[in-house]
Assembly symmetry: C2
Homo-oligomer: 353 residues x 2
């Protein structure tokens, strides 16, 4: 028994090989492999046998060629940079420095894996890289794109829309673009923060906002101001931050200088909230007794921060999974209907407020 029944020649076993071993036609094997009914149970069994015996694994390229489905989605993190080499090198590190992206990945994989689909990771921070993404989709290498944009003027969503390529965004784009997206009710989240701060007795409340050219930044600020105003606090000092730890520190410094008697701060994300806490601690100001701090996102860092952050939870994993689902449906149905799904935030009370 030197001669294995596995291979025709040198390559991997094909449908043909399995068919021969099972004594049926290629089509029948294909049906069994793809779980299509109308196949005699006895034959099904024979085919399964043959598959096991030969160690057959369907060739994805061949399948993709005929079905026109790559079973692959591009997971792209896009920016708005130019072609400077420094830009490119730093981008990935910057992206992953925020645990946010890991949560997105986790949610996406959670949806894709049971469906035997896979994410191809792409960064689109330069014009070249953006073209590559578009090309990748046009080639049919991926069936669609899940886009997490990090900048307001990111041209990628527009490019995708122009090409009619299936895509779903995380968060509403700054410029209106006919593409589906998943987002959070930021204003409601900000309101929760305002209510909590007020309920715990804060009377001189300020906020460190996110970048105001980004909808999430705008909405969290607007929601916070609005909620405060409705509760008798028409004036809320604001310092604009950049969603980074450092910008949180700088903002806290400015805030302390301008409003020394502040007793509550709403930071528009956890990273900035941590920056604020750090500055407060350096000044020997007690959190939350002298100044209460509320963050936003409930990133893993919020829990391990000191003090543990009271924050507004954004269900990033669920939102990412929903992105994948929307895109999947869009691809399956071929209907280019634009939709949005908005998630509700909830308050997580820990130590900082």
């Amino acid at each position: 028994m030197t001669r294995e029944p596995r291979m025709t020649g040198g390559g991997a076993p094909t449908l043909e090989d399995v068919a021969r071993v099972a004594g049926v036609s290629r089509a029948t094997v294909s049906r069994v492999v793809n779980g299509i009914r109308n196949v005699d149970p006895a034959i099904q069994e024979a085919v399964r046998q043959a598959v096991a015996e030969t160690g057959y694994s369907p060739n994805r390229a061949a399948r993709t060629l005929v079905t026109r489905r790559a079973e692959t989605l591009a997971l792209v993190v896009s920016g708005a940079g130019d072609d400077s080499p420094a830009e490119q090198a730093a981008f990935a590190s910057r992206v992953f420095a925020d645990p946010f992206f890991g949560r997105v990945t986790s949610g996406v994989i959670g949806y894709l894996r049971p469906r035997s689909m896979h994410p191809v990771l792409m960064f689109a921070e330069t014009p070249d890289a953006r073209d590559q993404v578009v090309d990748y989709l046009r080639q049919g290498s991926a069936d669609g794109a899940l886009v997490v944009s990090t900048h307001a003027r990111d041209p990628l969503p527009g490019m995708l829309a122009d090409e009619g390529l299936p895509a779903v965004l995380f968060a509403r784009p700054a410029q209106p673009v006919p593409i589906s997206y998943v987002d959070l009710a930021h204003q409601d989240g900000a309101r929760l923060a305002a209510e909590h701060l007020l309920a715990r007795g804060c009377r001189r409340v300020a906020t460190v906002s996110g970048p105001l050219d980004i909808p999430a930044g705008q909405d969290r600020l607007a929601g916070f101001r609005d909620a405060m105003a409705r509760r008798g606090h028409p004036y809320v000092p604001v310092v604009e931050g950049g969603f980074t730890l450092e910008s949180g520190e700088e903002a806290a410094l400015r805030l302390l200088a301008e409003e020394p008697d502040v007793d509550g701060v709403f930071a528009a994300n956890d990273l900035m909230a941590r920056g604020v806490c750090r500055v407060l601690r350096e000044r020997g100001i007690d959190i939350p007794d002298e100044v209460a701090v509320v963050g936003f996102d409930d990133s893993p860092a919020a829990q391990s921060a000191e003090p543990a952050l009271t924050t507004v939870r954004q269900p990033v994993e669920d939102m990412a999974a929903e992105m994948a689902r929307l895109l999947h449906v869009r691809i399956e149905t071929q209907e280019p209907e634009v939709r949005s799904v908005i998630f509700e935030p909830e308050l997580v009370v820990r130590e900082s407020a």
Copy 2:
């Protein structure tokens, strides 16, 4: 001019379409597109015209089917878990909590992008997920795997080797496996830490090691002990940590209890070093004057930590790029030669020591 020359039917333009527009054969277009010489410059130009005119983009599946190259690599983060749902959900977040993985991704993409190759992100923390990875490669969906293993008993490398699938590992595997890998000269790195601590005058030095079932953990400890011994310090207190912030804190607590007069600590990674610093600060112990702390990795967190960490730099991005290169060469040449490339660490002096 209603009729566009672009499409035959409804689909995307194909080689056939371009050939028709250019007035040449499919083969010629293919040659031009793939940059094969021996094509008349005039015809080349005509083809390029036609390509632009039709908006042609080669179909990747068709190409892969004949060339047997997917131009795709699997970037897999693997663990050694079982099939518990909790396991799966938490894995991605845990992975990305360490900035290490972002650096790997950055390095990999840096190598792949100019070569029009792309990474498919896969987690392999459960038996099912591992099988999916193997299957993915066997299907030819990816040409090989870049594996970052997070556990000593990870079965994936062995599975890959058994199947003869092209793969390269980040770091030498705990159990010997005939697969190429990229690694750091951990012992040299630990020696740098020892020398620095001693040079700045520390005399009662301890170390928080990594997990001792992982080569990196073992080597950093062995290297540190060896270097200390050679310099007249045969006894070095050790507390084993788990490469996490929390384990660093716990280790520091134990260390302080057992060796109250310690004046220098080498933590086997930055996360643990930060944990140590945090505990030290809480106790009001000055860093570096009372206790100097040296970390390992030079992760982004090292720079933004307080105090900024003196640490041993591991050139993760370069190492990851080298992984990709090794795998690429392995795939191109078809030679299953097992190699290893070892990088040299360097000391980065900041504030903590």
